[in-house]
Symmetry: C2
Subunit: 266 residues, 2 copies
Amino acid sequence: MFTIIGERINTTLGNIKKAVENKDIEYIREDVKKQTQCGATYIDVNAGARIGHEEEDMKWLLEIVQGATDLPLCLDSPDPQILETAYALVNKTPMINSISLEKDRFDSMIPFLKGKNCKIIALCMDDSGMPKTSEDIINRAKTIVGELENIGMKRDDIFVDPLIQPMSVDNNNGTMVMDAVKAIMQDLGGVHTTGGLSNISYGLPKRKIINRSFLLMMMANGFDSAIMDPLDKDIMAALKTGEMLAGHDNYCMNFLTSVRAGEIEA
Amino acid sequence: MFTIIGERINTTLGNIKKAVENKDIEYIREDVKKQTQCGATYIDVNAGARIGHEEEDMKWLLEIVQGATDLPLCLDSPDPQILETAYALVNKTPMINSISLEKDRFDSMIPFLKGKNCKIIALCMDDSGMPKTSEDIINRAKTIVGELENIGMKRDDIFVDPLIQPMSVDNNNGTMVMDAVKAIMQDLGGVHTTGGLSNISYGLPKRKIINRSFLLMMMANGFDSAIMDPLDKDIMAALKTGEMLAGHDNYCMNFLTSVRAGEIEA
């Protein structure tokens, strides 16, 4: 099943930052309820925007978000201390967003992850910067998955993020990541792949059609999770259609249910 | 570049049959002009529906269609005699639709094709029926491409049709053809792949979103032609977005031109 990481509770977004500043509980609750109704699998919570307030904001958000949904959370912070605090407060096994191969981040995240029960997003990033070829992505994926297995994590708990980069920067950024996802899903059987879809359309107009078209092309290569907005009806319709076409929807039952619910517009 | 075979001039469609019966020249002309404006690469012409009138109808259609467009035609008939007549009348190098591995069809089409200057659609069909696995499709593709090369045809002139079958019949019909296209484009370097997209959605509701989603997933596997309706704005927008994402649109110029022309709706 496709894992949808709902990306909306993030203080780098102006509306969420304002709701956190104003302690607007209802605003956060409503957003989380909508993401839940629309089919999110995890609710991402990022409290990093208000410098010096991350711990306080994370704690406040976790209480509100968990009061509004039964879904598990995706704890989104580069700081293991914030993650320790958050991990102690969650009701369900969380996803952690994220570890990378950058030395400082890697060295601080491994002790946090050791022995924890969680899912992990593993970014294909190292100290030399963003990947430049499919081989870069695949090699980094193999390295980081190996390291996580070394501390006892299971492949099914690992979500490799190949790092989706904008088409406006390089013509090959789409195929680079599609080819890498195909190879990762074959060579590292059992792992998942995820990523922030909207990066692909950065700097271009008509971003939504680009994002949902890319989602389908990624799904054709085995991509089985995305960090995305579950309130975007068009991308959710594309996702459900793509799941059916990828052979993950027996007798097209989920697709047909979605059509009857008015969720698929032709 | 993606090859769009415009499917609308087909007497099995009620409106076209009626126009042919009524010798409604303007109706045919308008349709062909619209397909041309919307970006068709070839105009398919099928005159097979009125039993006993195929040759007469084909000749009439060819005159009207070629008077309305400068595009090359795709001559769509199982009958080599009709194709000989049509071939003698076309102004530009045509595509022929189609040959297959069914013995009768194969044996009658090879003498027609020998020495001709044309493109050919090669169906992955043999006397045992429709393919049942990706391997069936790939093996048939290799056989028919080999046979066509034996009579001097170039790979660039061959459009392999893997035969898209409905999702409503089998859950794996999407992945079967996607995997086959990926292998054909790799193993038979230089050939093209094409097919009737709308077969995928037969028997399901909301067919247009299924068709255009499948087109994108096929393009992610190298599919570089389709028999489709160029007047369907949504599928044409998906196609242009997919071409950009597949790395076939330098600096996203065609995509941006289409956005400015109002052809891409987010």
